[in-house]
């Protein structure tokens, strides 16, 4: 009973964070029931995650851009353009894949540097600066694909990024062994970090949640990881896209929650004047955030080009808006200073689940857009309401 009480208070304090997970759970459950379990099938979940990878990495970068009170509209066509450059390097220039990828990522950083220069150095509103960049990259994409039209990429290794899976090593029944091993390792690492975090807090004599609650929380999250692993291992195992997205999320999550640079980013978003007077260089932070956005746009371009196994003339169209929507659904505040990487990833998965589920149900594309729009509005309304409640408390 005591445990229940503690759970209740934990939920009410973190309603905004948990609300998202609950919403995702409800969406998944609803679609599962409506599709007789087809939605949660190994194959569908695997496809769903792979198809949202290139938006998810953009949403991660966009989260930080919005946190520092800016916006980047150029990421879609920047991704399209850089993806096309990757295709050209691989096919026409014959550059090997292990050189192409770092080159494209560096080009992405240079793109970010350009946006950062316009915003931080010239003081142009980011909306306008990135709109200009968006037009430029759209033109650049058309320019490089003008002669050839769609560029087909035949490099197996490159195409594996968007379509391939990590090797299985062996199969246990239907399940991929390596994926299972990775899942177990992730659970072990998770438990290890949680326990050492708790130990550290106890060392400082800080208040921690009760050991019963702690065990419950760990079991619950481990079970979810195990379930997802089991589902994915039942199809082809973890795809390379999943691995890449996970690595990006882990790095950015760590960066934003545990490092000085992360704290500075949120300080700038929360109050730029106060940040400046606290000895933080607002300009430097703006550059860093836009460069990270540029690099992630490049990664998104690589993921997308690889998934389609080709670069098209319209690649990247409206990616920026999907990324922005995912960030807002994930609880990023338009006023700046608030927003989590994990939230935006969940936001991206929520939006992707809606598309995937509605596709399975055969809902027309016109309704799909309306429903996704409604969900975006609802998420932000929920956000505003819970924030207001917290401010009153």
């Amino acid at each position: 009973m005591k445990l229940l009480k503690e759970a209740k208070s934990l939920i009410s304090v973190n309603i905004r964070d948990y609300g998202m997970y609950i919403a995702l759970f409800i969406i998944m459950l609803t679609f599962s029931i409506m599709t007789d379990g087809l939605f949660m099938s190994s194959r569908n979940i695997s496809n769903l995650i792979d198809a949202t990878g290139y938006i998810a990495v953009l949403a991660v970068g966009m989260t930080l851009v919005i946190v520092i009170r800016h916006i980047d509209l150029s990421v879609g066509f920047a991704a399209g353009f850089l993806g096309a450059i990757a295709a050209i390097l691989l096919t026409q220039a014959g550059v090997p894949v292990y050189i192409t990828i770092p080159v494209i990522l560096v080009l992405g950083i240079i793109v970010g540097l350009f946006n950062g220069f316009l915003v931080a150095q010239m003081g142009i509103p980011s909306f306008v600066a990135s709109l200009a960049a968006m037009l430029i990259f759209r033109g650049a994409l058309l320019r490089v694909t003008e002669k050839t039209g769609t560029i087909i990429v035949k490099d197996e290794h490159f195409n594996a990024i968007g379509n391939g899976f990590i090797p299985a090593i062996a199969k246990i029944g239907e399940l991929n062994l390596l994926s299972m091993i990775i899942g177990v390792v992730i659970i072990a690492l998770f438990i290890y970090f949680e326990i050492s975090k708790r130990r550290n807090k106890l060392k400082y004599n800080f208040e921690v949640i009760s050991s019963g609650m702690f065990a419950l929380k760990i079991t619950f999250i481990s079970a979810i990881i195990a379930y997802i692993t089991w589902i994915l291992a039942g199809y082809n195992g973890f795809s390379w896209t999943v691995v890449i997205v996970m690595i990006v999320v882990v790095i950015y999550h760590f960066l934003t929650t545990s490092t000085v640079i992360g704290r500075h980013i949120y300080a700038v978003g929360s109050n730029p004047e106060a940040a400046h007077l606290s000895g933080i260089s607002v300009k430097k932070i703006t550059y860093i955030v836009f460069c990270s956005m540029g690099m992630l746009s490049a990664l998104s371009g690589i993921l997308f080009t690889s998934r389609l196994q080709s670069a098209t003339t319209t690649a990247g169209t409206l990616f920026e808006l999907d990324a922005i929507a995912a960030a807002y659904v994930g609880g990023v505040s338009a006023a700046g200073g608030v927003g989590k990487i994990t939230g935006s990833i969940i936001g991206a998965i929520v939006m992707a689940s809606l598309s995937s589920g509605m596709n399975l149900l055969g809902v027309g594309i016109s309704y799909q857009y309306m429903i996704r729009g409604g969900v975006l509005a609802l998420a932000v309304i929920f956000d505003v309401m819970t924030r207001r409640q917290r401010a009153r408390a």
Partner: protein, 507 residues
Amino acid sequence: MMNPYILEMNNISKEFTGVKALSNVNFKVNKGEIHCLIGENGAGKSTLMKVLSGVYPHGTYSGDIVYEGQVQSFSKISDSVKTGIAIIYQELALFPDLTVYENIFAGNEVKKGSVVDWNQTIIKAQEMLNKVKLNVNPEVLIKDLGVGKQQLVEIAKALSKDVKLLILDEPTAALNEDDSENLLQLLRELKNQGITCIMISHKLKEVIAIADQVTVLRDGQTICTLDASKNEISEAVIIKNMVGREIDDIYPKRNKKEFGNTVLEIKNWTAFDPKLGRDVVKDVSLHVKKGEIVGIAGLMGSGRTELAQSIFGNPKSYKLRGELFSGGVKKVFKNPKEAINDGIAYVTEDRKGDGLFLIQDIKQNISVANLHAISSQGVINNNEEVKISNEYKQSINIKAPSVEQLVGNLSGGNQQKVSLGKWLFVNPKLLILDEPTRGIDVGAKYEIYTLMNRLISEGMSIIMISSELTEVLGMSDRIYVMAEGQIKGELPIDEADQEKIMKLATQ
């Protein structure tokens, strides 16, 4: 007999959540006179004018406003405007990107049917400009005019609405001498045309030159009304009535007073603000010794905050001239970070605006300026952060359930303590406090004073900027008085009193 008063404000009281801003103020203005309203910052002048003009609607204050023989109950600004009351604030309410004529008739457009008649507007605007003797083309943009001319446009705007009672809030604060003299001359002419004028001003010379009557407010109360025709108005009398507050024992005593070497010194320090197009700090020289509290007194707008910021890494990018010595070594701080690294900290005047991160919690606010102290290789030790913020929470008595509380939810006094905690964590050698006790209650004030004394005894130095004379006198070891961007005088604490400071500050 005809009622000589155009305006009588009787027993006006106004409270802001627990703080009494006005209590039983009486203020009577004769028809056709120039009546000056005087008092320290926070004495209640602006509040009284806001009550009069309907910014604070009827019902939010107690007492009567009798205007032109009738009791008025304005519920919004436009109500008072309709009766012929116009108020011109210190911060001009003009649209910089619109033309002079558009500004004069903004909100009061000349119409033909339901469309604006621009030709008539221009013709009428020209008439108004003639009245205020402003010789500019009405089609010029406001932003292309100087402040003095902008002020005249504001008056022209008021005249276009058939103003009977014109209220000016520190009209000459931002003007040079010629412009000020022009403005005063214009007010005399308007008076001859029968327009009554209330002027709030800190410049006593002007007041003495122009006022028919002077009313002095102090701590939200009417102290006296002086009449020029009875020869009652003089600088000494006004100052005596403005100050006069007792220094009570809310200032904790410091026993040991020993000063060490000079910590910071600036020489011939001038700061030019490119946005305003003028020097905001002019030829200032001052120094601070180790273990000393140096007070900087002066009225708002005298350049104190600009001086502090120009020392603290110049975040507003003024053009600086002069020399700065820190610990005897000449230094140039390119940004606040360099100043912080050199051991200088600055607690801002506007803690909500540019001091605190309101949507972040106490611990994040305390650690933000010195994150490297609790991190290794750029990775923050979150537990260490909680521990240290808890230490500051205790030592400076921040009242909150935990350090995870959002700063935006704290009271003013506790927010100020968080600001202090943030800078104490940096462990500076010089702490610049800009209005350290503005808007906080007496209990928290006392705690902050006690903290200041403790810091001094630990070898820190403090520059305290304050508009409260008693605070400056109660806490400082030495006082500089600023006005118009200059240091008008330096007073050792033994020789300083309220009259002397006020005299220097109102030069």
